[in-house]
């Protein structure tokens, strides 16, 4: 399916380019972009565009009319005004670490790469905030804040590379969001440019703003409503101490019960992660973290806070895990051991990548109590499709990341992997969960949106989109489906159609 689609896209791109070329729009676009950007900041030729053809979900690729790399906010505004005038789509891109093809270029559009806007503008240690440009990497905010004893809490696995602008667009989470929340809980204010290039300041340095909460609406909106040019994030005091408890269990059910038991005991761990046997073995071979290779699943439960609180909670969690049949237990004795125990978890994706040519990472979120049931169903599907699956995920949040192993060079396996993935998403929705916990919809899950939302709900999303972007030029064809029935009363640009 994916491979066939790729060919169609290529054909489409040629046709579109020809059409635009015939009307002179493409030339006009490039000429105007070159007027306001330095020569090396406009990339036209397809070879140089290759690094931008996809995000980290590499099965979806395309090339734009042009890649632009603005160096300041004025240039971003210029690009938006030009595209608005010429009615050209704009796709924003941060570091390209996204996992839903949200940053895949549009063949008739401009790819707006914001990586050069990478300055930390200000850190206010007393107010505990940092004002940063969108291309700043997630981790570098915490690094810059560290000398004040502060850090930025959301920590997606890609935090070394991923940008804060991308985090905002996807409402990124991470290992620690069970206790510290998602991006939406950790940002205060943003500067936005509308699709027409108008400046809009949303949020405030206080904790709320006077009209509709546009911070809530923009966070996780996948670049469909506006372009983020500056973000003010909240910083938290770095905890005095963090310790991690690793426990092995001889069944998925026992591990699943233990997750619920921690929460029921009134403890909110900083992180509560689960890995199943295939993931544990791959990670152990890769990182030598000391994981029990014979366990059906392991839990990593991190407690942070004051020394007294952490000591108390570690004791209770160890006791709980023991009562619930843990077959092995390790408590980090120092920072070195804590880092090692996390190293296995953090390298689990690449480790799994070593045992199969390709993997497909899913992202459904389910009620915590359903973790064991859903994992057992996923194993059943794995047998049915004949594709192995490894699970590495945020158990405390019920946010699953099944990794389906397949070989992308075999079209049949690609089809099977996509179908298996779709079944997992249906399963998540059926048990009361959702299609995506933190990766976003992008191109990947667009077709699955009707399984979670009714037609009225989808039309409501569409009406929100029109409120900000009436010509549908911001990241068209992603995030929310534009329904056929709406096309009856709206002249919908071709570019936004999808079946």
């Amino acid at each position: 399916m994916t491979i066939a689609r790729r060919t169609e896209d290529e054909d489409m791109q040629v046709n579109n380019a020809e059409r635009l070329s015939a009307s002179g729009t493409r030339e006009a676009l490039i000429r105007r972009l070159r007027d306001c950007l330095p020569a090396d900041c406009v990339i036209e030729n397809s070879e140089s565009q290759r690094p931008y053809e996809c995000d980290a979900l590499t099965i979806y690729r395309d090339l734009p009319l042009a890649v632009v790399l603005p160096q300041n906010v004025q240039q971003v505004e210029d690009v938006l005004r030009i595209c608005h005038t010429l009615d050209v789509p704009v796709v924003a891109r941060g570091a390209g670490t996204g996992l839903c093809a949200g940053a895949m270029p549009h063949p008739e559009g401009v790819l707006l790469a914001l990586g050069k806007l990478d300055r930390i503008l200000e850190i206010d240690p007393l107010a505990r905030t940092a004002r940063v440009e969108p291309g700043v990497s997630n981790l570098s905010i915490s690094e810059a804040a560290a000398r004040h004893g502060l850090y930025y809490a959301p920590d997606p696995s890609s935090q070394v590379a991923c940008s804060i602008g991308g985090n905002v667009s996807e409402n990124s989470g991470g290992v620690h969001c069970l206790k510290y929340g998602l991006t939406v809980h950790n940002i205060l204010a943003m500067n936005i440019l509308t699709v027409a290039g108008e400046a809009l300041a949303i949020g405030s340095l206080g904790l709320d703003s006077p009209g509709y909460d546009l911070m809530a609406l923009f966070t996780g909106s996948e670049g469909l409503l506006g372009i983020v040019t500056e973000v003010t994030v909240r910083l938290l005091p770095a905890p005095e101490i963090a310790r991690v408890v690793m426990a092995g269990f001889d069944s998925i059910d026992a591990a699943g019960n233990a997750v619920g038991a921690v929460i029921a005991a009134g403890i909110i761990p900083a992180g509560l992660e689960m890995m199943d046997r295939l993931a544990v073995r791959a990670a152990e071979d890769f990182a030598h973290a000391g994981y029990p290779r014979d366990a059906a699943a392991i839990l990593l439960c991190e407690m942070d806070g004051t020394r007294e609180e952490v000591a108390e909670h570690v004791d209770r969690v160890v006791q709980l895990f023991r009562e619930l049949g843990a077959t092995s237990l390790t408590v980090s004795a120092d920072e070195h051991q804590r880092a090692l125990l996390w190293k296995g978890r953090k390298s689990a994706f690449p480790a799994v990548g070593r045992i199969a040519p390709d993997y497909y990472c899913m992202d459904g979120t389910i009620p915590r109590g359903q973790v064991a049931y859903v994992l057992n169903e996923i194993y059943r599907l794995s047998k049915q499709y004949g594709l192995p699956v490894a699970n590495v995920f945020h158990a405390g949040d019920g946010n699953l990341h099944p990794l389906i192993l397949f070989d992308a060079s075999d079209p049949e396996q690609v089809r099977q992997a996509e179908s298996f993935g779709a079944d997992i998403l249906d399963l998540s929705v059926r048990v009361g969960g959702c299609l995506t916990g933190e990766h976003g919809v992008g191109v990947e899950k667009l077709r699955k949106m009707p399984s979670q939302f009714s037609p009225h709900e989808l039309i409501q999303f569409e009406d929100i989109k029109y409120a900000f972007d009436p010509a549908l030029n911001l990241n068209p064809g992603k995030g929310i489906p534009i329904l056929k029935r709406c096309q009856e009363y709206r002249a919908l640009p071709d570019r936004h159609r999808h079946d």
Binding site: L126, T194, D208, P210, L217, E308, D397, V441, Q452
Partner: protein, 361 residues
Amino acid sequence: MTERDVANNSDRSEDIIAALGEARTRHSALYITAGGSKREMVGRHCDAVELDVSAHRGIIDHQPGELVITARAGTPLTEVAAALGEHQQILPFEPPVFGGKATLGGTLACNLSGPARPWRGAIRDMVLGVQMINGRGERLNFGGRVMKNVAGYDVSRLQAGALGTLGVLTEISLKVLPRPQKTLTLRYALSAEQAVQTMNERAGEPKPLSGAFWVDGELYLRLSGAASAVDSTARQWGGEALDDDQAPWDQLREMTHPFFGGDTPLWRFSVQSSARPTAEFGAALIDWAGAQRWVRGEHPRAQLQRAALDAGGHVTLFRGGDRGGDVRPPLTPVERRLQQHLKKAFDPDAILNPGRLYSWL
């Protein structure tokens, strides 16, 4: 929940949909009410036919192990708190219950949160999903009952502070938290300026702070969490330790503290927590570690707004004064246009609470 509460619980969403249909046919607007506790505060006066949704109430689901509760919007907060209390859980955002009249829906619509807000988040931060009926009379579900959900726009959180102008809220799912093991309050005699500095410094330490407010020359810091952590922090920080019944947190949350008494206009500043306090508008009450500040009296609006902008935030006429005029600060033309478009996307016929948020919305 008492037996009477259970008997009262019912699903009246079909009645609400019917009322909306009728209003659209007649081209008449509706003013959504339930407990009526915030009628004279937060928003502007709204001149429209009342739609009383208080009968649409009842807890639908509480899964203590999931830290999630789902209830109909007309459910009194006291009923929600009682159900959570049976499992040693709390509403993290500590909302005012206003004598038991406040409902879950009204609290979300007004985005009202208590002293713990800077640390545990607002109701806006805890909402996981809503069911609502938009201005077209369509029943819509957004978000869900799970901790993370990024499918589609975050319409649930958008309802926080929208004052019912985008839809009638019918069901709300919230994240809840375990009740802290121990709570303790410390009191210090300080000037406003010293207090703001201290609040911000303390909030920058990795300690179990859960409240910080100043009034009448006294700073109150509240610690909540594991008993061992609370006790050791109290020893390190010093100050006068207060028993729970001496600590004014309930008065602060319920606005029954003498500062809030009387009819003089009450202004709410939402500003950068570290902003230097000003005596320009008389004595203030400073909450949320400096991020929420209250002043009383008749003051020129432009002067208040300038002070709020200087402090990185905004000011609203929270209660009293002229509630026929706008009670919130003016927006830029771009902001105003987008807010109007958003309103239209949910309520194209302007049926729901017209003018409650802004005179032009």
